[in-house]
Symmetry: C2
C-alpha cells in the first residue's frame, strides 16, 4: 500500500464527540458513504480515510490527522483540493491546517519551476531582498498604465506587476496593456540599466490565460501572475507545464475566504502547484494576518519539505516605504517587498519614491543576526 | 454611466467604525489604492466602488451596499468573483451576502441553458419532484460502478450522478467509467422504460474537462456535473458556451469554505454562470445549513431575478428515504432529491430501495397548499 497523504484538520468540538467527528471527516473526504455498505475489502483498506491521531491543542479544539489515499488524487491538483477539503469545507467547525505529502505526490505536482533562485537570477540580485510594485488603479488606459510602469521602472524596481483587478477590460485590453507596459519598462531599462521585469496578471478561462501568456511570451515577458483560487488549481498546473519558462506569481484573491490556514494555502499549496512567488497580506497593513501567520507562511514557502524549489514570499497590502527596515529585519533578504498605493501616492514624484524604496532595500543593514 | 453591480456585504464592526470600513471595502474591491492618488476624474467617477447604503441589521453587524463598475468585469465570470470578493475575502469581518446585477451583466453570463424545464423534459416528468442518487464509493472499478448504476436505474431513478470524488483515477479511468455506466443504465432503461440519465463528474483543467465532455457526448450523455469553486467560474462558462446541449449540475465542493452566503454562492452565482441544477447540503443531514438557508437557496435558484431560466435545487447529504415526505413538503415539486448512502446501505437490495424512493416521490400528497 502506498503512503498516505496526511491532512491535519483543526476541529472545534468537545472531548466526548471528537472521535466520532474525526471519523466522519475521514469518511467524508474519501468514500463519503456508510462504511458498512462497502463490500470491497480493498476499498475499505486502501481508499477509506484513516484517522491517524487526535490531539487536543486548545480548549475545545483538536488536531486530527487523517491519512488519505493518493490514488484518489492521481496527478490532478484540483482533485487534491477536492479530496483535502471539498465537502468538509461545508462544515464550519473545521479548518484545514496542514498537510504531509508523500514524496511521489509532491514530485507529481513539481513545485516552483524557477523559485527564489530563478527570480533572483532574472535581476542579477543574488543576496538582497527584491522590490515590487503594482500598476493601479483599475480603469486606466493602456497608455496611462504604460507611463506608470515606466515611472516605476525608472526608480529601478525589480518587478512591476499588474493589479490583480486588471483583466481584459474594454477600457484596457490585455494585449494593448502588455504592449504599452513592455514599451514603458524598456525605455526605463535603457536609462537605468536595471533589468526590471513586468508581471502581467492573467485572467479568464484556461484558454484565455493561454492566449494571454502566448502574447506575453512573444514580447519577451518571462513572468506572470495568476490567482489560483479564482483560476482553479488544475489550470495553474496546465500553465506551469505548457509555459515552463514563465515564473509564476500567485495572488491570494479569494484565498482568505476559505477556511484553509493561510500558511498552508498560500505558503504550501500555491508553491506546490507551481508558484515561484507568493503574494500575501502583510501584518500591520490593510489586512488582518498576524505576524506569526506571516512568518509561518514565509517560512513554509522558503523551506518546502518536499525537496522542491523554494518559493519567494511577497508581503503586500498597505505597506509603506517607511516600514522597509522593519520588514526586512522581519522577513530577511529572501523576500520581495511589494509596495503599491504608498508609492502611487507620490503622484508626480513616483520615480523618486520608487528609487527611495529600492535604495532603502539595497542599503539595509540587518539587525537580525541570522539574516546576515 | 452604466448601472452598477451592487454587492451587499455583512460587516462585523461597531457604529463608530462602519463608515470608514464600508468605504475601505468599496476601495478594496475596485481601485485598491488611496483615492487622493488618483488623478483621472473618470476613474474616480466611473470605476471606484461607491458605498450606496449602510444599515444596522443586528448588534455589531451592518449591511453595506457597494456599487461596483460592471466595466471592471466585462464578460468574465471569474473576474466577477474577483471583483465581488477577491481581496475582501482576506478580511475575516466580512461576508458577501447578496448581489444585484444590472440586466446587461446578467444577460452576459446567461444563466442555466436548460434549467428546470430542461431537466424535467429529459425525463418526461412535468410536475413531480425528481430523484437522484450517487455512484460511490471511491475506489470501485468501472465495472462495479456500471453494475451499481444499473441497479439504481432499475429502481427508475431520474438522475444518477458520479460521486464528486470520482475523477480520472488509475483504478477507474473516466472513459472506462462512462462506458460502463452508460451501458449499465441502458440495460436498466430497456427493462424499466424510464429514461434515467447519467451525470458524470468532470475534473481536471479546462482541457481535461473538455475531453471528458466530448467523450461523454459521443456516448449520448446530455448532463454533467462540475464543481465551480474547484474548476474556476470562467471554465464553467467556457463549457456552457462550448457544449450548449449539456445540462450542468453544480457541486458545492469547496464552496462552504468561502465566506460567501450559501444562498448567494450556490443559489445565485452557480445558476448565473450556467448551472441547471445546484446540489447543496440539506438541513438535518451531515451538514450544518439551517432550514432557512436551504429555503433561501432553493428559492433563489428557482426564481432568478435576472430573467434567466430557473435552476433546480438538489438537496443532498445524509438524506434518507424516510424523510421524503417531509422534504417534499418543505421544497415542493420543483426540486430533485438526492439520496446516496442511504440507498447504498441496502446493498443487495439496492434496486428495491431505489424503487421505494422513486415511488415515495411519485405518490406524495403535498400537505403544503402552495405546492399543489
Amino acid at each position: 500500500m502506498t503512503a498516505r497523504l496526511v491532512a491535519v484538520y483543526h476541529v472545534r468540538t468537545d472531548a466526548a464527540s471528537i472521535e466520532t467527528r474525526a471519523q466522519a471527516i475521514a469518511v467524508e473526504q474519501s468514500v463519503e458513504m456508510p462504511l458498512d455498505a462497502i463490500e470491497e475489502p480493498d476499498v475499505l483498506r486502501d481508499i477509506v480515510g484513516e484517522v491517524q491521531a487526535i490531539e487536543p491543542i486548545a480548549d475545545g479544539i483538536f488536531a486530527v490527522r487523517v491519512g488519505l489515499a493518493p490514488a484518489t488524487i492521481g496527478s490532478d491538483a484540483a482533485q487534491m483540493l477536492n479530496m483535502l477539503f471539498g465537502n468538509t469545507s461545508l462544515h464550519d467547525d473545521v479548518v484545514l491546517h496542514d498537510i504531509v505529502l508523500p514524496p511521489a505526490l509532491a514530485a507529481t505536482f513539481g513545485g516552483p519551476g524557477h523559485g527564489i533562485a530563478g527570480l533572483r537570477s532574472r535581476l542579477g540580485a543574488e543576496r538582497r531582498a527584491l522590490t515590487c510594485s503594482a500598476l493601479k488603479p483599475q480603469g486606466l488606459s493602456p497608455e496611462r498604465l504604460g507611463a506608470l510602469a515606466e515611472q516605476f521602472a525608472r526608480g529601478a524596481l525589480d518587478y512591476i506587476k499588474d493589479d490583480h483587478g486588471l483583466a481584459d477590460q474594454d477600457y484596457s485590453r490585455f494585449a494593448d496593456r502588455i504592449r504599452a507596459c513592455v514599451a514603458g519598462i524598456a525605455r526605463a531599462r535603457e536609462a537605468t540599466g536595471h533589468p526590471t521585469r513586468y508581471v502581467p496578471s492573467l485572467s479568464g478561462d484556461l484558454n484565455a490565460m493561454r492566449r494571454q501568456l502566448a502574447s506575453a511570451c512573444a514580447q519577451g515577458i518571462d513572468c506572470a501572475m495568476v490567482a489560483p483560487m479564482i483560476a482553479g488549481f488544475a489550470n495553474i498546473q496546465a500553465l506551469r507545464r505548457e509555459y515552463p519558462d514563465i515564473a509564476l506569481f500567485a495572488h491570494p484573491s479569494l484565498g482568505g475566504a476559505a477556511r484553509i490556514a493561510p500558511e498552508l494555502l498560500i505558503g504550501r499549496l500555491f508553491p506546490l502547484i507551481g508558484a515561484d512567488a507568493v503574494i500575501f497580506p502583510n501584518f500591520g497593513g490593510r489586512f488582518g494576518y498576524s505576524p506569526e501567520t506571516c512568518r509561518a507562511l514565509a517560512d513554509n514557502a522558503r523551506t518546502p519539505p518536499d525537496g522542491q524549489r523554494p518559493s519567494l514570499p511577497v508581503p503586500a497590502g498597505g505597506m509603506t516605504v517607511q516600514r522597509v527596515p522593519e520588514l526586512l529585519d522581519f522577513y530577511g533578504p529572501d523576500a520581495m517587498l511589494l509596495i503599491g498605493g504608498n508609492l502611487l501616492s507620490a503622484r508626480t514624484q513616483l520615480t523618486e519614491a520608487s528609487a527611495a524604496f529600492t535604495r532603502a532595500v539595497a542599503a539595509h543593514q540587518y539587525r537580525v543576526r541570522s539574516w546576515t
